[in-house]
Symmetry: C2
Subunit: 434 residues, 2 copies
Amino acid sequence: MEDRTYTADAEPGTTATVAGWVHEIRDLGGIAFLIVRDKSGRIQVKLEKDEMDEELVETGLEASRESVVRVVGDVKEEPRAPTGVEVVPTEIEVVAEAETQLPLDPSGKVDAELPTRLDNRTLDLRREEAKAVFEIRAEVLRAVREAFRDFAATEINTPKIVATGTEGGTELFPITYFGEEAFMNQSPQLFKQLMVGSGLERVFEIGPIFRAEEHNTPRHLNEATSIDFESAFFDHTEAMDVCEAVVKAAYEAVAENCERELEALGLEEEFEVPDGEFPRLTYEEAIERINATGELDEQLVWGDDLPTEGEHALGQDVGEHYFITDWPSEIKPFYIKDHDDDETLSTGFDMMHPRMELVSGGQREHRYDRLIEGFEQQGLPAHEFEYYTKMFKYGMPPHAGWGLGGERLVMTMLGLGNIREAVLFPRDRQRLSP
Amino acid sequence: MEDRTYTADAEPGTTATVAGWVHEIRDLGGIAFLIVRDKSGRIQVKLEKDEMDEELVETGLEASRESVVRVVGDVKEEPRAPTGVEVVPTEIEVVAEAETQLPLDPSGKVDAELPTRLDNRTLDLRREEAKAVFEIRAEVLRAVREAFRDFAATEINTPKIVATGTEGGTELFPITYFGEEAFMNQSPQLFKQLMVGSGLERVFEIGPIFRAEEHNTPRHLNEATSIDFESAFFDHTEAMDVCEAVVKAAYEAVAENCERELEALGLEEEFEVPDGEFPRLTYEEAIERINATGELDEQLVWGDDLPTEGEHALGQDVGEHYFITDWPSEIKPFYIKDHDDDETLSTGFDMMHPRMELVSGGQREHRYDRLIEGFEQQGLPAHEFEYYTKMFKYGMPPHAGWGLGGERLVMTMLGLGNIREAVLFPRDRQRLSP
């Protein structure tokens, strides 16, 4: 195709070809403006009815909204145009005509409900706000990978089709794999642990995870993006240090590189990079503080998992990202190591945004005998995980790591109301298409 | 954990803590050397039997191979040591003891068959060669993403659980999704096309794809990593330009940043960044050249797909990366656009390494009516793809793109014999675990 100029790059004094969507036509009588929108922004195309070629003007005026057009013309300075420039066209071509009835209005003048938006993501992402979320999401992933590499971690890809789930047979989607039963993996946990015992030592993965949980909330997905980190020779506190640095790196990159997107979301003033260290509360402190808020009907006691309302109350109380450490061993999975000096206390940690949990991590149990005991205590069939457990007999270093929900990171960063706004094509109990 | 020094960074004149695996113990009588291996390399730890603490020496000498050890000591220059330095230990701790019978030998002295290696990836990736492949794989993915961003493409993630396959119901793994039938996606094709019609315009994705093909060859996987690109306002030649640039960027990054890994693989001399433009052969030229080699029993005629032996013969003949363009429309999928001046010719292209196909791409059919015709011609139920087709009614720009097999790129780049060597945990008909 011929060279095309982004609307944002159209320089006065040049002849340019711009291509994009018909955002709007403003007909003022003798003069009309065709607003063409592309990835970079919008530009005004001037149609002078009595002075320009009749067919040219007609093509411009009759183009339906959201049609794809190609305009060749001279770019002129025009202080009254929204971007200070306009195109005086010599050629207008409708490249792809849009039906006049649109399922949603990309100009954003008419609000659409979330299900309509998700059914029509192509049109939805022509809106600046929706597009901004996904440009930011891409920048978050870029920045996170760069931060991992700064920590000398190697990117890995682990299988999504597995014979056994990470935490047993619950909440897995079953697959038929050449006549055998298999599952879609709910977490790269066991595989990333196998890799820290290899010569790679420190690894990360960003990939899909699949959870057949029947919840239907604004913060759960059945297919999500997990950001995973694991390092040999790390304890849980070092894993927390990396976690904090990675999350901060994501915020910093967005602050630095996504000015236009933050503006589209109306966040240019509000957006704040977390500063200072994330407070580290023990589980015991956490339940005390939740109880002290008086928000729960029943007081929490040692061993309780934190209910959603408890997390909310504590999040409001703390008011910034924070860790909860030293959980009761009994409510953390078998692969989390207990403290050496107190077996009832685990090295597991969660990292929380005031609105919700973002990260779950901990030091892992690297001792073969203790690992097998852990399987037994949680009623899991250790023999089904032999591919994993046997590697712990051949020199498995102490290690620690965590998993961060990619969509939750974006959702909390941008204050989105529903996690589905942070996924192009979300999967939930009701939604399997598009 | 205390600060640990990578063996490669241990500076003479300092006291250091190194941690890693027992690579080897060389007992020379009065003196013995414990070789400790970590991610960065290896270091020699000197054990002087009569002069050092007896227990310390014993701990070192009795450590089984591949046990994890932690050594504190003074780093000294020692010209006779393999790295020019050695550690004179004051402390040796066996952190995780390895069983003496290992399923494979990470020192590389005893070769292991591929199935044994795949069953024991943790140990396998303690070998320099195996580790090098995956360090290079990570660098390839990094470089490819950077190249995409240089082309102003936005990273996207599309769903892996889908209601319908890209090319109909064949070769899909079925899933039970909350009682409904669903599939694991075989390609992000349709979703990335939906996104070029959005305000993103140009997108890329690196993610898993799933193909239930029953082949069992050294170059097929049932779960693979697809590197996908798609851009609005591009034709197939522009898509080919980006394809060529991205593949070259991957080679350049490996040449520049993976010296140690190339050396481990014995490729430091051999490794070449493709220079010059990749030749672009038409399908017609390709079958003529294959026929001219005389390697096939039967001459190919127009409309034949290229058999594997034909690809090999042509690859040997061309001797570098090349494109095959202008395929017969009838053997390319419905979403590939035909040439405007000849409907029997498609804009589809393949990009080939001399050994095998790496990329498949083309300009896409963006006209709604023609797209629906294409479904009908290929006997696919258009109504099942309405989530996709309907967006073509609302201003879908001309667009083009391609998909590149990530493992094939690494395999051909490094001359690996089997594609499974480029995946940590490959999935094939026989292999579902680990």
